[in-house]
Amino acid sequence: MDRTLTTRSFLLLAGLLLLLASICEVRADTVLLNASYDPTRELYEAINKEFAADWKAKTGEKLTIRQSHGGSGKQARSVVDGLGADVVTLALAADIDQIAALTGKLPADWQKRLPDNSSPYTSTINFVVRKGNPKAISDWSDLVKPGIAVITPNPKTSGGARWNFLAAWAYATAHSDGDEAKARAFLTALYKNVPVLDTGARGSTTSFAQRGLGDVLISWENESYLILKQFPGQFEVVYPTISILTEPPVAVVDANAAANGTTEAATAYLAFLYTPQAQKLIAKNFYRPRDISAADADDLARFPEIALVTIDKDFGGWRQAQKKFFADNAIFDQIYRP
């Protein structure tokens, strides 16, 4: 009886060890968490697949990349509050600046660590109108006309909406000889034409495309083409004469990656975004690539050359723009003051 008991407990122990070993085996796979903003879902699904294959071929390591999507500001806050994302790929540099400032998990000069302001792809802001452009909308000046309903999200809660606002501001200042009061009046007139301020870019897309609200949607270029793809034959894309170069930045969150032991994989992941292979995927997913050498001509034909202002040259960087336009009681809040 004693004997059987020992045999049994031995077997049990062996079984437990085996189980433990298998759990460790699973854990040995490297897992990367990419905290990104809303419209990049499709882009990173495509990129993750190719990078994981690439990484396996180079190191023999099986890599799993998990994605988390949400409003850019909300994602930044999650990382500030302790979400252990190894990399962040957000809508604007201001949000990563906040992570650096509030947690110190990455250095303040993070944006200098990768080429092109740490933005491996860019985009811009354009308009989506209903088929046939019934209200004949061709430029920003058409959006302030009485009776035009404009759909754009709330700049307070949406990164994309902040780009929209700044693009409109760029047009307004270019057409008012730098008179800021005139630019303010222009933006006020524009936002008076907004019947719904959704909290995020996807919400605005839903309001415009599915609820039938509004005559024009101010949108990310990539999101505009997604709308055309999803609702074929219902909408058209219109480019204004002037817009803004949007640079969605990427960064390794150093402290998180070090804690997860993924520094090497995370760094390689972001470097991969700059390779011709990834740049091709970027163009295919309606983002403007930095390196067009491998991109399909059909994809590139979508991106017309228009006058683009930049956040650094024309607005003095995000820190200043945030303070001047979107802080509490700053210009955006003043628009709505009765």
């Binding site: 719904v196 609820r211 609200l213 009765p338």
Partner: protein, 288 residues
């Protein structure tokens, strides 16, 4: 609260009747401290950094005031509609038998179970200018979605089960002989309803109202889809809290939260007082 006070009096007089008072009270206090008081204390602690002056500034800020007004007025109107409709539904479910009654009864709970974003999307789709209800209403010149009225509609949707589920059991327990007695004593139907039935269910109705109100005032997920979210017109207070958070202004966010909490507490306290007043008036509840 009344029950707790009453039972503590009972136990103080005769501690041996039901043992275990010390232990259970200890557990009760620990649990409520951990789950309710501690998070609320943290909230007050974070907001307290603002100072009294900053707090007054915030409470008198026009935008904060208008958001709070919308949240509270819409929640109260929604809860009032729910009190009327919920009472009727509870009455029908208890007093009549009809085919599909079980089904209707089960459906009442759906707003409890649905993720709020889903109900918000459904309501917005329905009441949007191109929606099933929105389109005919738009022709009559009535706009629901993306106006303050949309907030009320969302509050009505999420608050209905609270009233029905509060009133239903009380109505079911109501002694029919009371009504019969009233009839034999010469009361008319209206008199029976107003003087016999209504006072008995009033406390439950008030509780349902208070719960529906509390749910509506704190609601974010579903309202955000159907309100237009325009500052000064259709921006609710919880959205303003989110906006402050997006600005990484944790203190401002918690300060608005504290304001909401104090106002909700005042409303709930008023309802509670009304309730105990009505209980006293009718002589202590349904089985007087």
């Amino acid at each position: 609260m009344n029950v707790a006070a009453a039972s503590s009096r009972v136990f103080a007089r005769a501690p041996s009747v039901l043992p275990g008072f010390g232990l259970t009270l200890g557990l009760t206090l620990t649990w409520t401290s951990l789950i309710v008081i501690l998070p609320l204390a943290a909230l007050f602690w974070r907001a307290s950094g603002l100072g009294f002056g900053g707090f007054v500034d915030l409470a008198s800020d026009a935008r904060v005031v208008s958001a709070l007004r919308l949240s509270f007025v819409a929640a109260i109107i929604g809860a009032a509609f729910n009190a009327a409709a919920g009472l009727l539904i509870a009455w029908v479910l208890v007093r009549y038998d009809f085919a599909g009654k079980r089904l209707v009864d089960a459906m009442i709970d759906l707003p409890f179970a649905l993720p709020t974003a889903v109900s918000g999307l459904a309501l917005a789709a329905l009441y949007a200018p191109n929606g099933w209800l929105g389109a005919p209403l738009a022709q009559l010149g009535i706009k629901i979605a993306f106006t303050p009225a949309g907030v009320v509609v969302a509050c009505m949707f999420i608050g209905l089960p609270f009233v029905v589920r509060q009133v239903q059991p009380v109505l079911a327990d109501l002694d029919r002989s009371l009504e019969e007695a009233a009839a034999t004593l010469g009361a008319s139907r209206t008199q029976t309803i107003v003087r016999v039935i209504f006072p008995a269910i009033l406390p439950a109705l008030l509780t349902g109202f208070a719960l529906a109100f509390a749910r509506g005032v704190g609601e974010y997920g579903s309202i955000i889809f159907i309100a237009g979210n325009l500052p000064f017109t259709s921006e609710i207070a919880p959205l303003l809290i989110i906006i402050r958070l997006e600005e990484f202004n944790y203190q401002g966010a918690t300060a608005i939260a504290v304001l909401m909490l104090l106002m909700s507490f005042a409303v709930l306290l008023a309802v509670n007082l009304l309730q105990s007043w009505s209980r006293r008036r009718t002589g202590g509840g349904r089985h007087a």
